[in-house]
Amino acid sequence: MTAIIEARDLVKSYGATRALASISFTIEPGRIVGLIGPNGAGKTTAIKAILGLTPFRGELRVLGLDPRSERDALMREVCFMADVAVLPRWLRAGQALDYMQGVHPRFERARAEDFLSKTQIRLTSRVRELSKGMVTQLHLALVMAVDARLLVLDEPTLGLDLLYRRKFYDTLLNDYFDKERTILLTTHQVEEVENLFTDVIFINHGRVALTSSVEDLGRRYLQLTVNADQARRARALKPFYEREVFGRVAMLFEDRVPAELTPLGELRTPSIADLFVAKMQGATPT
C-alpha cells in the first residue's frame, strides 16, 4: 500500500532558529502515530508542513499530494484539530454543523448530531458558553462526522481534565478509528496515551530521534532493572541510558538478546515514556 505521509529531508527555519533540521519519516495507512518530542522540538512545525500551513524545503507527499500546491484538494480528506482554543467564540453548535455541511463534501450531519446528543451541548450553545472540555467535544463531533483518511491532532487535549481526556481518546479509538484511517497525534501526556499508538516518531531539535512501530520497540528495546552489585556487569553490555530507582539501577538496552540480560536482573519492555526520556537525555554517562 502507498504511504499516507512520506517526508524526505524537511527543513524549516524561522529566522536563525531551525525548527526542522532535515526530518524524514513515512506513515503507513491504518496506523495511529504518536509524534513525540519536547517543547520546541519541531512537532507543530512538522504538522503545519503536513497541512500546508507553512512553507518549507524538502519533499513531502500527503495522500499522494503536495501540501504546498495541492492544499485545497488535500483538505477534503484530512481533518485537523489543533488545541482546544481554535473554535471561534461566537460560533453556535448549530452554525458549526451548518457550516460543515455547506463546505465539506464528506461531512455527514446526522453523525455529528448523534454524537452531540450524547453531550450537554445544545445546538444553540455558543462556543463562549461552553467549557474547554465541551468545546473539544464539539470539535470532535465535527471531525468524526467527516469521512477523512487522515486525522491530525496537535495537542488536542491540552488543558483538559483527566475525565475529558480519557473520554476523548476512548471515543477516538472506539468510534472513529478503523483500518482505513490514519491518525497522527502530538501530545505531552505520553503516559496517558501510549497504549493508543501503533507507531511512534520521536523528534528532538528538529531531527528524528527514533521512528518505529510499537511492536518493533518491544523487540528492539529492553529495560533491565539490576541490584547495585550487578550494575558493573550490566554496564559492560552498553546500556544507552540508566537511572537509579530506589537503590536499584534501571538500564535501557538496544538490540540485545533477552538471554544475555535475564541472568542479571528483572527484564521487561520499556514504556514509551521511559524510552522517550532515555532518548531525549542522550547516552548514558560512562
Binding site: 492544499r71 485545497d72 484538494a73 483538505m75 489543533a82 471561534p88 452554525q95 455541511q101
Partner: protein, 321 residues
C-alpha cells in the same frame, strides 16, 4: 501518484455530489452566511436604522423642517400641487436612503478591517483552514459581503423603509393627523429606485480599492489593524507639516469623493422654495454614463484586484498562529 486518490474521490462522491459549479455556489453561500453570524452589526445596524427612520413617519416622533415646508397637521389639503407632492415623495425617498447608506459605509469599514484579522487574533484560522475552502474563496466571500450582499440588502431595506414610512404617513393623513403632502407615481418611484441601485453599484466599484486596502491591512497587520488602516490619514498630516504640501490629502479626498463630482457634473441645484419643488428622480439629471466610464474608476478596480491578490497570498502563506 495523484491520480488514484483524485479518482477515488471522484468515484466515491460522484453519486451524491453536486455538479462542481453548484457545489462551489453552495460553499460560497455558506461562507457568506458565516460572515453574518460573526459580524452581526452587518445586519443589525442597518435594520435598527431602518426601523428608526420608519418610525419618524409617526406624527410627533420627528419634526420635519425642510426650510420651505413646515409640516403642520392642520395644513389644508390642496396646499400643494400634485407636482410638488411628487417632489416631496422623492425627497422622502432619498432622505430615508441617505442615513442607511452612511450607516452601511461605517459598518462595512469596520467589518473589512476586522474580517481577516479576527480569525488570526482568536486563532480560529486554524479551524477554518482545516476545511476544504481555498484562501481565494474565503477572501472573495468577504469581498462579496462588503461590495454586493450588504449593499443589496441595504438597498432593499431602503425600499422597504420608504414603503413603511409612506404607509404610516398616509394612514395618518386618512385619520387627519398628518398633512397630505405626499403623492405617488410608480414611474417616478421606479426611477428613484434605479438611480439608487446605480448609485450602490457605482459606490461599490469606486470604493473597491479602499475595501481591498482594508482587507489587505486586515490580512497583514500583526496588531492594531484599525490604526494601520487609518495610517494614510496620519500621513497626510505629516506631509502637510513636513513639506507643506497636500498631494496625499488630495489623492485620498479624490478617492473618497471624486466619482460623486463626476456623477453630478452639470447638475444644477435648484434654490429652495415651493415654486421649484418637483420630483427629484436624479436618474436623468445625474451623469451615470460618464461615471461608469471614468478611467479612474476602473484603475481603482484594478488596484483593488492586485491588493486582494496580495491578501489571498498572505492568508495562504502566513504562519503566525
Amino acid at each position: 501518484m495523484n491520480t488514484p486518490i483524485l479518482e477515488s474521490v471522484a468515484a466515491e462522491s460522484a453519486p451524491a455530489a453536486l455538479p462542481a459549479n453548484a457545489a462551489l455556489a453552495h460553499t460560497l453561500v455558506t461562507l457568506i452566511r458565516r460572515e453574518f453570524w460573526e459580524h452581526r452589526s452587518l445586519w443589525v445596524a442597518p435594520l435598527l436604522t431602518a426601523a428608526l427612520l420608519a418610525l419618524c413617519a409617526i406624527p410627533g416622533v420627528a419634526r420635519f423642517d425642510l426650510g420651505m415646508v413646515h409640516m403642520h397637521t392642520n395644513a389644508p389639503a390642496g396646499l400643494f400641487t400634485e407636482e410638488q407632492r411628487l417632489g416631496m415623495s422623492t425627497i422622502v425617498q432619498w432622505a430615508l436612503w441617505a442615513p442607511l447608506y452612511l450607516v452601511m459605509l461605517f459598518v462595512l469599514g469596520f467589518y473589512l478591517i476586522d474580517c481577516l484579522y479576527a480569525e488570526r487574533r482568536d486563532r480560529s484560522i486554524l479551524f477554518w483552514k482545516s476545511l476544504p475552502v481555498s484562501d481565494a474563496l474565503t477572501v472573495l466571500s468577504k469581498l462579496l459581503v462588503a461590495l454586493a450582499v450588504v449593499p443589496l440588502m441595504v438597498f432593499a431595506l431602503a425600499l422597504l423603509t420608504y414603503v413603511v414610512f409612506a404607509g404610516i404617513w398616509q394612514a395618518n393623513v386618512a385619520l387627519g393627523r398628518a398633512p397630505a403632502i405626499l403623492a405617488f407615481d410608480p414611474l417616478v418611484w421606479l426611477k428613484v429606485e434605479i438611480a439608487m441601485l446605480l448609485g450602490f453599484i457605482l459606490s461599490a466599484l469606486w470604493y473597491a480599492p479602499i475595501a481591498a486596502y482594508f482587507m489587505l491591512v486586515s490580512a497583514w497587520a500583526r496588531g492594531k489593524p484599525l490604526l494601520w488602516a487609518l495610517l494614510p490619514l496620519v500621513l497626510t498630516l505629516i506631509e502637510r507639516i513636513a513639506f507643506g504640501t497636500h498631494y496625499l490629502y488630495n489623492f485620498i479626498a479624490y478617492r473618497l469623493g471624486g466619482i460623486w463630482r463626476t456623477l453630478s457634473q452639470g447638475y444644477v441645484q435648484h434654490s429652495g422654495g415651493l415654486a421649484t419643488l418637483r420630483p427629484y428622480t436624479l436618474l436623468g439629471e445625474l451623469n451615470f454614463g460618464a461615471a461608469f466610464l471614468d478611467i479612474d474608476l476602473w484603475l481603482g478596480v484594478l488596484a483593488a484586484a492586485l491588493m486582494l491578490y496580495a491578501a489571498v497570498r498572505i492568508r495562504r502563506y502566513r504562519d503566525d498562529s
